[in-house]
């Protein structure tokens, strides 16, 4: 079940997008998220759509994977779509079903919001598909670096993030193993009433917690044994490299922003 999830998984390849500095990618996405909210007519959406298509092409990620990745969030998109369709009271009346009245404005709004969602999901899943999680962490640590002066534990948080990332597959495997072991003992995780189901996960959760604590303890000992004593005096193995293509991406972002301001109505 969990093995089919594609959101948040890295697909190694050798493309321009893969090679970009994670900081550039993070900044670009941050900018893009804001710009998406500037779009308010067909032209602006078309521009954003075209840019997204361009990035997908450059990344060489197969469209099929991206679309597969949409499946888990599809319900969310449909939900917002219908919410707008049913509850926006603008423009002409298109249809009347029972007590529900559908207005033209609602349909337009629903479609636009859904497109906005799709664009955001495409672009952010492109980040995770083309960037190893550890690089994302490095990028975040570097971008937030200045906050260290404000005594914010940026290094510690980044380390926590990278360790969590490292242990996600391990813990998923473990969940699967314990689930199967309990199913072999007759546990049923997929039927029954809500209280019954809540009760059914106890035999799964307790072993998971016990093992996670044990892992954390052993990991702490192992880290100390290898000389970990906090961020002081520590050097970094991974060094981020900002190159021309990253600068170009930033220019593109600024240009995109300017274009949207001009084209929006």
């Amino acid at each position: 079940m969990m093995e089919k999830m594609i959101v948040g998984r890295y697909l190694p390849a050798d493309s321009v997008v893969h090679k970009m500095d994670p900081r550039a990618k993070l900044l670009f996405i941050f900018g893009f998220v804001i710009i998406v909210f500037l779009a308010n007519n067909a032209v602006t959406y078309a521009v954003l759509g075209a840019i997204t298509c361009l990035i997908v092409l450059l990344s060489r990620v197969k469209l099929r994977f991206l679309i597969n990745g949409l499946k888990p969030v599809l319900i969310l998109i449909l939900f917002t779509f219908f919410l707008h369709v049913f509850f926006t009271k603008e423009g002409d009346i298109l249809a009347q079903i029972g007590f529900l009245t559908i207005y033209k404005g609602g349909v337009i709004k629903g479609v636009l919001i859904s497109i906005r969602f799709l664009l955001l999901i495409f672009v952010t899943s492109l980040l995770t598909l083309t960037t190893p999680p550890i690089s994302v962490t490095d990028g975040i640590e570097s971008l937030f670096g200045p906050l260290k002066k404000l005594k914010l534990p940026v290094h510690e948080l980044a380390l926590m993030m990278s360790i969590s990332l490292r242990f996600i597959p391990t813990l998923l495997d473990e969940t699967d193993k314990i689930m199967k072991a309990q199913m072999a003992r007759g546990a049923d995780f997929s039927s029954g009433s809500i209280p019954e189901r809540v009760k059914a996960v106890i035999p799964l959760l307790i072993p998971l917690f016990v093992s996670a604590f044990k892992r954390a303890e052993e990991l702490a000992v192992a880290m100390e044994a290898r000389g970990y004593k906090g961020s002081e005096g520590r050097t970094k193995y991974r060094i981020l490299q900002w190159s021309t293509r990253d600068t170009i991406a930033m220019f593109l972002l600024v240009a995109l922003c300017a274009a949207l301001f001009m084209l929006r109505s």
Binding site: S162, T170, R226, K229, Y237
Partner: protein
């Protein structure tokens, strides 16, 4: 005279919430360049000893000195530079998201320069034969491979001593072989001092010297050959015996002549043949 790298004198240790001593008056030395195996069943005190050598426990009585430093709180980081540890669970000591990040972790902690770091990561991975896996993520590696990466992470810090704390007990036979061979090579070619805490006989039989712990006390010590002569005594301590020793015993019981109990299968077969079948 061989150079001592660890010296343990009259060490006792008691866990705060327990009455019985986990270690009782244990004394022994470890010499430079040797491979010492410490064996004992679960609860014999061997894991307490391992934790102590890593500075996680301090002796209640007696003294421990590692690489010339007394085991006291102020020296703990110096001692950890001298003695590297490989732990039991391959997953719970893999810190990095990829093989090279993991090997670099210890170097980062010790403030090694970036240029030197890359060289040392690569050289260490070469010594354990894992260079082909540089960018591999841990969940795509076998247990044996993860342990080899752990060893690389330790030797990248250039310690004098490597302590394997049941490092092969969660591995399959191939993984075990892989790890033991890697350690053997490092011990022979790099002169690394190895202490392996284990209940795997195969691992113990490859050591230069074996120490048997029982109920917190040093039961006996000697070459593997001498230790495995103890045979039934070892079984009573909850330990096994190597195949040749077991076979010698069974053959004697079945009324066959043997000059002694053998440790080596080839010698046993020769002895069995000469004394019983060659006329």
């Amino acid at each position: 005279m061989k150079e001592k790298v660890i010296s343990i004198k009259g060490v006792s240790f008691q866990y705060p919430d327990q009455e019985a001593f986990a270690l009782r008056n244990v004394s022994f030395d470890v010499y430079k360049g040797e491979w010492l195996a410490i064996v004992g069943h679960n609860g014999s005190g061997k894991s307490t000893l391992a934790k102590m050598l890593n500075g996680l426990h301090y002796p209640s009585e007696g003294t421990v000195s590692i690489g010339g430093y007394a085991l006291i709180e102020e020296n703990v980081w110096l001692i950890r530079e001298k003695l590297g540890m490989v732990f039991q669970n391959p997953d719970n000591q893999f810190v990095g998201t990829t093989v090279q990040d993991d090997v670099a972790f210890g170097l980062e902690n010790n403030g090694v320069e970036h240029s030197a770091m890359q060289e040392r990561v690569f050289a260490s991975l070469e010594k354990v034969g894992m260079t082909a896996f540089l960018n591999q993520e841990p969940h795509h590696l076998s247990g044996g491979q993860k342990q080899r990466v752990a060893i690389a992470g330790v030797i990248a810090l250039r310690p004098d001593i490597v302590l394997l704390d049941e490092a092969t007990s969660m591995l399959d036979p191939l993984g075990r072989e892989e790890v033991i061979n890697t350690v053997r090579e490092l011990n022979e070619n790099e002169g690394l001092t190895v202490i392996s805490i284990t209940h795997d006989l195969e691992e113990a039989s490859r050591a230069d010297r074996v120490i048997v712990l029982n109920e917190g006390m040093l039961y006996t010590e000697g070459t593997p050959e001498r230790i495995f002569q103890l045979d039934r005594e070892l079984l009573n301590l909850g330990l096994g015996v190597p195949f040749a020793v077991q076979m010698s015993q069974l053959l004697t019981d079945a009324g066959l002549q043997l000059s002694r109990r053998h440790f080596n299968e080839e010698e046993l077969v020769k002895d069995l043949w000469t004394l019983n079948f060659e006329k």
